[in-house]
Symmetry: C4
Subunit: 273 residues, 4 copies
């Protein structure tokens, strides 16, 4: 919805999922590196986590859809009323939530029905972002300059995220590609917050001048700073997870690890040259 | 042709071919998974099917071309008449049908002349979609807003389909990529129907207001819903084909399969992690 | 130059090179398939052909540059005259010819200096097409509608050709990709002829109306028909080269071939399934 | 900053780094080819060079940022002053320098902390170029035609450089791809110089007419000539480095090399066919 809360909600969803996905990618990568030394049985754990992730995504999508439809002044599931379309922007948002809900469904299906290929999740995720791109592109007709600009940034970031998810679908297990995608999801999340503060200042203070081009030039660099922030979040997350895994593993299998670690480190540095 | 029937015909062709191609892809994928257990001789069957597919495509293209040319008020194969071009939009449509007919020709050639690489079919298919994109892009000059919008959606979907067919040409045997392409072909088919109902309402009721921007915003989400529908069609198709193959195979080689299936399932789930 | 001859010349160059490259690709592909049976020493021959090709390309580029500069009314190597730029469109054309000349230089260098990778040729070729795209994009300022349209088609076709050459640079030895590129080079060649006939009708008849939108719609399908023509040229070329190679090889090593051919054919059809 | 020096500084940085990176790529490629014969211990050397490179990049970025902020008339770290944004173009430039500084940080991190994958550097580099593209795209609002055009060229070249760096991230060790990227970095460097001379002529002579379209047409070909120049720089560099490596290696291990070289050359020429 065109309100402060209506932008904070999806923003928070993207921030949570971006943070979670980046943590999961780092965890898998670090574990895989360390596990060579000490094989823990974590497959079942990851399976359950994926299904839980799917359920969370579906809940988020449902929250979004219900929020859009039944907020005071919302469309209340009525599409056509009194000879004209009823609150189409609300329906736009619902459609986007719906496609992100499908990602959750794909998540659950792929980890419960065995013959489905796991890369289906990435494909559906990529489609969800492309649908978001498409809808936001057709969303801002007749609005003011700054309003259009901040939504175009969403179009840009969701398009690139969709492309990256599609690339992950084609080539699996590239941790940097996954982290790049999650950095863009974090960017999108924080950008939703930024939009909320720009278009509907909650402090009750004076709104931004929507036709001042200087505001656009500021928001353009602001967008880059948000991106730098998402770098920092992922960097700190990486450092923390690496430290955590190393500490916990040392306790579990301290003797084995000690011997193998040095050999491994050399091996890796050779590989990466 | 600019008529209800002129949009229903290609729409139906796309729906039929999209459904057929998705069924074929799923069938091949499911068979390949099951065949490890029980080798049936299906190569000759698939060969014949491909040639039949080629003939069907050529018939469809011919039907389209003949329909465009010899409908009452059509160009009747006359390109230039009385100092000006004669019914160029009809010729546009014929050119598109012609390039889809070439896909049928490629289909037949590749499965009768052995030294031709099979990926040629995908290349010609991709070219047919790009030609469609190109022609629709130069097709709507001077029309009204909504008319341009619904055709731009066709440009978008045929461009993406062309890209996906080109990707299949480069990397073969990715079932999800094939299903993604067929889902877009289904989308295009149902969108042709939608265009028919929007621009030439068959019920004789009042036409849509072609300059109302709300209609564009509705059709934008409508496009996404069509896409969700094509997901559902393919999902149901997948479930049905899987069930069918499993049941029929069980009858044919019940003893063997029973032993091997459990081992296989474990093997697959490992692969896909 | 803005004249009939100035479009016929590059058009013929593209047609010749397109035909030559497609023949070379087909020859290499067919030979490679047949050579398994009967190893002829053709490496030196191919080497010489490449160097000859390079020399031809340089000669073409020089012809073009000299023609552009020293035609009556040309810039005569003067860039800045009497306080303004002198005949910049002529200089544009020269720059394009220059970059195609570089392809010839790369051809010669790669086959005389051994440590240079052969894929350099494809890279330079791709760059030449991108430079052409870039220059044509900045070439038609202030001209009339139809003039801009026919040059935009050149921009489109040279951009796609550049992309395809770049893809060949990344993945070598895909015969269909090479034929696709050469089909687009043939298209560009015949389109240059078309431009010549549209903008500077040699028959002295009345020129085309440059502001009639119907002409654009006709030229859009005309462009597709040119493309269909380049399909046919390559198809006939393929059939002819295959027939030639088979006949000549049969004479040279008839006994061996006869035995191996059947076995091979089966092997191939298996591979391509 | 909008001044002659403000364009010469980044231009020189790009020229230096472009030249250095191309030399490094050629050196690695030539060494790898020659090293088969004579294994020198150069790994530690390359490691130190990378860290030095990182420090240089950070210094350059800091110089740029300090220069932008504390030049007379600069923003002096004040973003918002007297009810309006303070010198946003200066802040734009600082943001770009910052992201290039991050490349230096990534360089140092990847060669000091072992578990980080080396391809991270390419990813961050690619991001830096995309950020540059994004900012320059939002940088020229309300300026004059020629000013916009020369900055659009920067947008184009930095976007393509970003794409190429991203491709290097995906597929490592393609020397031609690296050289292509460095050629574009050189192009960007020399184009910054060109912009300086066009927009702020240091000779004090009359400025260029910013609204004359002929100037755009000249600068379009000028851009291509700059690119041809970067070809020549890299070509000469390649010849020089190859000669240097061969001469030095001959001294170090003349006997071994003499025997192996001929065998190797034949082997390579076979590989590259």
């Amino acid at each position: 919805m065109g309100s402060f809360k209506g932008h904070i909600l999806p923003g928070s969803f993207f921030l949570i999922m971006g943070f979670w996905w980046s943590t999961k990618s780092i965890l898998k990568y670090v574990c895989k590196k360390q596990m060579r030394a000490c094989h823990l049985d974590s497959k079942t754990l990851f399976h359950r986590m994926e299904i839980l992730e799917g359920i969370t995504l579906i809940c988020m999508a449902l929250t979004g859809i219900v929020g859009e439809q039944f907020i005071s002044g919302g469309p209340y599931l009525i599409l056509y009323k009194e000879g004209q379309w009823n609150q189409l922007t609300g329906w736009h948002h619902c459609t986007m939530y719906f496609f992100f809900g499908l990602v959750g469904v794909a998540n659950i299906l792929c980890f419960t029905i065995s013959p489905l290929p796991v890369s289906l999740i990435k494909l559906i995720l990529s489609n969800a972002f492309f649908v978001e791109t498409f809808i936001f592109h057709n969303h801002t007709h007749g609005r003011e300059m700054l309003d259009i600009f901040v939504h175009q940034m969403l179009v840009l970031v969701s398009f690139v995220t969709g492309l990256l998810a599609f690339m992950e679908f084609l080539m699996r297990n590239n941790v940097l590609l996954e982290l790049l995608r999650t950095s863009l999801i974090l960017l999108q999340g924080s950008w939703f917050w930024q939009i909320g503060f720009v278009l509907y200042p909650p402090s009750g203070g004076p709104a931004w001048d929507l036709n001042d081009h200087d505001n656009i030039m500021f928001l353009a660099i602001c967008f880059c700073w948000h991106y730098a922030l998402s770098y920092i979040i992922i960097g700190v997350d990486y450092a923390f997870v690496t430290w955590l895994v190393k500490t916990r593993l040392r306790k579990l299998c301290s003797s084995e690890l000690g011997l193998l670690k040095n050999a491994e480190r050399e091996h890796e540095s050779e590989e990466e040259m």
